[in-house]
């Protein structure tokens, strides 16, 4: 093609575009409803024994060490090689896994007794007993670089009075411990491996699990193989699982279609409709326990953890301005447009599917640009009122931010988007050098970790520097109570207060979108987002 003819080609495209300018505008069709699908166990389906399963993992896990790991994706791999004292079931309740009973809490709430399995072994042959459990829990609590310390709560001591019981002594009652033990803090490591590897445990993790660690190729893959010593080995069918790291969502989608991988997590809402139509694939979806939102800086001047100071802007001082911001967000339209309606609008830190949700916590202020404008007038601020919002420069976040900008403009906000790289955003958040900041939270089973951590005065995650003794009292009372109904009521009151004060403006809640091949069965995803592959299998005559 000569240079000239390429010019003509370009002109021809332009001309064609103008000449055919007669297609009427196509409006978006109605929304479809989404139903949760957590996947089902193998059950009595006829499955084959053996085979290798490949999962496309959306991010590379960090250290495969339950004590020091902070990446959520590490849990995906750990779920097949490292069982926990407790697990979740599809209903979101905590059930025993390596424990034999739910924790028994003494009437004063200070002693927690856990019955644990006996007669089973770790992948290296070390016997599993209460002493091993106590060693692991002690490491989670007291290792200097542990990321679990705060999840464990105000522990006084940990002991193993007999081979089948572990006792945790607390300084103050701490209800969230049960849920914490259903996450990484409940993972039990082989004491032999710990003694041998020490801080290097993550290089060769050894736990109890249907599979055991084989090798890790940096940036590429992690391989695990069936553990014949596993106590429930008869229900394990696959020989091998390879987690292949594929950080691009559309690459995961392409590999699912081509059959190169059988499972992939965190599918983009852009790809999911097309994948759902593929007869060889099945979509699993579980609503997240976390939330996405915009933190408004009301008092973080010297950095998080330091005493808060007043900030002299209407947004920081005047709750009416913050409320106007919340009312200015057309949450439903935003999730419809940006996420093809696969995610849900959210107005509170309490996920609606959990037992801690209530009518009060599910209430959501409707999109009301007129009222938002009126509030801004009452507050006496100039319209358009400028707000500068820092946001992580990842695609989904930026797309949402741009749509948000358009949405709040209608109510008189001039939202300026300041994209920064994720690590910088974490730094900015800590230092308090922001006016508004958009960042989500992946969520935990216990609501305390989704609320108090970010909203209690002086808490390590209170990046906005919010300061309310009323809210502190409500959240404190909720964390000390053991009764679910009482807690739900307290969190309901807390949400009402949060929605008046709006230290964090909640926007939407993700769904954990996982896709699996129809050739396999037994893949399960619950609301913690972890893709459980331990008991998965190829259907008979479908071996890979």
């Amino acid at each position: 093609m000569s240079p000239r003819s390429s010019l003509y080609a370009a002109l021809a495209v332009l001309a064609a575009a103008t000449l055919t300018a007669c297609v009427p505008v196509q409006h978006v069709s109605g929304r479809s409803e989404h139903h949760n699908d957590f996947g089902t166990p193998v059950g009595d389906q006829r499955v084959a024994d053996g085979g290798e399963l490949v999962m496309g993992l959306s991010a590379e896990p960090d250290r495969l060490d339950p004590t020091t790991s902070s990446s959520l994706y590490t849990r995906y791999v750990m779920s097949t090689i490292c069982e926990k004292l407790y697990d979740l079931n599809s209903a979101g309740s905590v059930v025993p896994q390596l424990a034999t009973t739910l924790p028994k809490v003494s009437p004063d709430g200070l002693t927690v007794t856990i019955g644990v399995r006996t007669g089973i072994v770790f992948a290296d042959g070390t016997p599993f007993d209460a002493k091993a459990v106590a060693t692991s829990l002690q490491r989670h609590f007291s290792l200097k670089t542990s990321q679990r310390t705060s999840e464990m709560g105000p522990v006084k001591s940990i002991e193993a009075p007999d081979p089948s019981h572990v006792v945790l002594h607390y300084k103050r009652p701490f209800a969230p411990i049960t849920a914490a033990l259903a996450d990484r803090a409940g993972m039990i490591m082989s004491p032999t491996a710990l003694a041998k590897e020490g801080n290097g445990f993550g290089d060769h993790p050894v736990c109890v699990g249907p599979f055991k660690f084989v090798q890790r190729v940096p940036q590429t893959s992690i391989t695990v193989t069936r553990d014949p010593r596993y106590y429930d080995a008869k229900d394990v069918h696959l020989d091998k699982i390879t987690y292949r790291i594929m950080s691009d969502a559309n690459i995961r989608a392409a590999n699912l279609r081509s059959g190169d991988i059988q499972v992939a997590d965190t599918i983009s809402p852009q790809d999911i409709d097309a994948l759902a139509k593929d007869p060889g694939l099945k979509v699993l979806q579980a609503p997240s326990l976390g939330y996405q939102g915009v933190t408004l800086n009301t008092g973080n001047v010297d950095g998080v953890g330091k005493p808060t100071k007043p900030i002299d802007t209407p947004l920081a001082k005047d709750p009416r301005v913050r409320q106007a911001f919340s009312l200015a967000i057309d949450r439903q339209t935003l999730v419809d447009t940006v996420f093809n309606n696969w995610f849900d609008p959210a107005c509170s830190p309490i996920a609606p599917q959990t037992p801690y949700a209530s009518a009060a916590s599910n209430a959501c202020p409707a999109f009301d640009p007129a009222k938002a404008r009126q509030l801004l007038h009452e507050a006496g601020v100039p319209i358009p009122y400028p707000v500068s919002m820092q946001v992580s420069n990842t695609q989904d976040q930026l797309r949402y931010a741009q749509a948000l900008q358009a949405s709040v403009a209608e109510s008189g906000f001039d939202l300026k988007i300041v994209p920064v790289e994720y690590s910088t955003l974490l730094d900015v958040q800590k230092r308090g050098t922001f006016e508004a900041l958009m960042l989500g939270w992946s969520g935990r089973v216990d609501p305390d970790a989704n609320t108090a951590r970010f909203l209690s005065t002086g808490a390590g995650g209170n990046y906005g520097g919010f300061n309310s003794s009323t809210l502190d009292n409500l959240l404190g009372a909720a964390s000390r109570s053991i009764d679910v109904k009482t807690r739900a009521a307290l969190y309901g009151q807390a949400v009402q207060l949060i929605q008046q004060q709006n230290p964090i403006v909640y926007t939407y809640r993700l769904r954990n979108l996982t896709v699996r091949s129809t050739r396999i069965a037994g893949v399960e995803v619950y609301s913690d987002g972890v893709v459980r592959l331990g008991k998965a299998a190829y259907l008979q005559n479908q071996e890979g």
């Binding site: 370009a10 297609v23 741009q402 900008q405 790289e421 910088t424």
Partner: protein, 290 residues
């Protein structure tokens, strides 16, 4: 007809001859026409674009090209692709021009000086070596992380990357010109180094500087697209062809259109500069022409 390195040629005459050669070269003319289209699109984007580039239309995402009101269709947020391509072209040209300026402003003096003084040459050459060997992307990511990204930042990163070649080209030409009769003559008339560099060397080195600038320009335009594609260049909501491509990549399986037009725009911009630059090089230095 050749430019004899030994005789200073009046600039006006060079210009006249160069223009004549350019006009007679069909490739150069094609390049010029493409450039003109691109420049008009970029400079007059605010007048030509039917919408603001970041204007979101929630009710009309993913319109196909040829839709009434949206000539080239809309993207996932219902933004008009034609408007975004126009503004993106504008941004590309801005980054290109800024990085050329940056590379010229730093590269030309360094090249002149290091060509003139040997002791400076050693230092400048080491720095140029370092810049050539140092992974450019790390530099770009680092700058983006520190300054928060954006158009100017991308231009600086791309400009820095182009400095070493500019230094080398200018240095080589200075070395050559230093030995010419007219510079030697100026020496004997006790002209100072600054006067020699400014009045005799620089004007005669202009052709190589201009040619190098036409090489930098498309490289910077492509570089900006790549940086923005990786999320390190221009930051949304500011429009950029690279950002459009990376956005489009997310839903390419659904709608390929939003990923086609920005690519064509980029190709046209670069093609224009490459054609024009080639012709200009031939015109300025007839030895290399066919």
């Amino acid at each position: 007809m050749t430019i004899d390195a030994g005789t200073p040629v009046p600039l006006a005459r060079v210009r006249g001859r160069t223009l004549g050669r350019l006009v007679r070269n069909p490739m150069g003319v094609a390049g010029g026409v493409l450039l003109l289209i691109v420049l008009v699109a970029g400079v007059f984007a605010p007048l030509l674009a039917p919408y603001a580039p970041a204007e979101v239309h929630f009710s009309t995402p993913f319109q196909q090209p040829g839709t009434v009101g949206f000539g080239l269709g809309t993207d996932d947020l219902g933004r008009d692709i034609l408007s975004r391509v126009l503004y993106g072209t504008r941004a590309s040209l801005e980054v290109g021009a800024l990085s050329v300026l940056f590379a010229v402003a730093l590269g030309v003096p360094l090249g002149l000086l290091s060509g003139y003084w040997r002791w400076l040459d050693a230092i400048v050459s080491r720095l140029a070596d370092l810049m050539l060997a140092f992974p450019f992307l790390i530099l770009a990511v680092g700058l983006a992380a520190i300054n928060g990204g954006g158009l100017a930042n991308a231009a600086v990163a791309l400009g820095i990357a182009q400095i070493p070649t500019m230094v080398r080209v200018v240095r080589a030409d200075t070395l050559r010109l230093k030995e010419t009769d007219f510079v030697l003559a100026a020496h004997t008339m006790h002209a100072g180094p600054w006067r020699i560099l400014g009045q005799h060397v620089l004007p005669n080195a202009l052709p190589v500087i201009i040619v190098q600038a036409t090489v930098i320009m498309p490289a910077a335009v492509l570089g900006e697209a790549i940086l923005s594609f990786l999320g390190l260049g221009i930051q949304p909501p500011d429009p950029s062809l690279g950002i459009m491509l990376s956005d489009a990549q997310q839903y390419l399986f659904r709608t390929p259109w939003p990923g086609i037009f920005p690519g064509i725009a980029l190709a046209v911009i670069c093609l224009g500069f490459n054609l024009f630059g080639d012709a200009l090089r031939d015109a300025l230095d007839p030895k290399t022409s066919r």
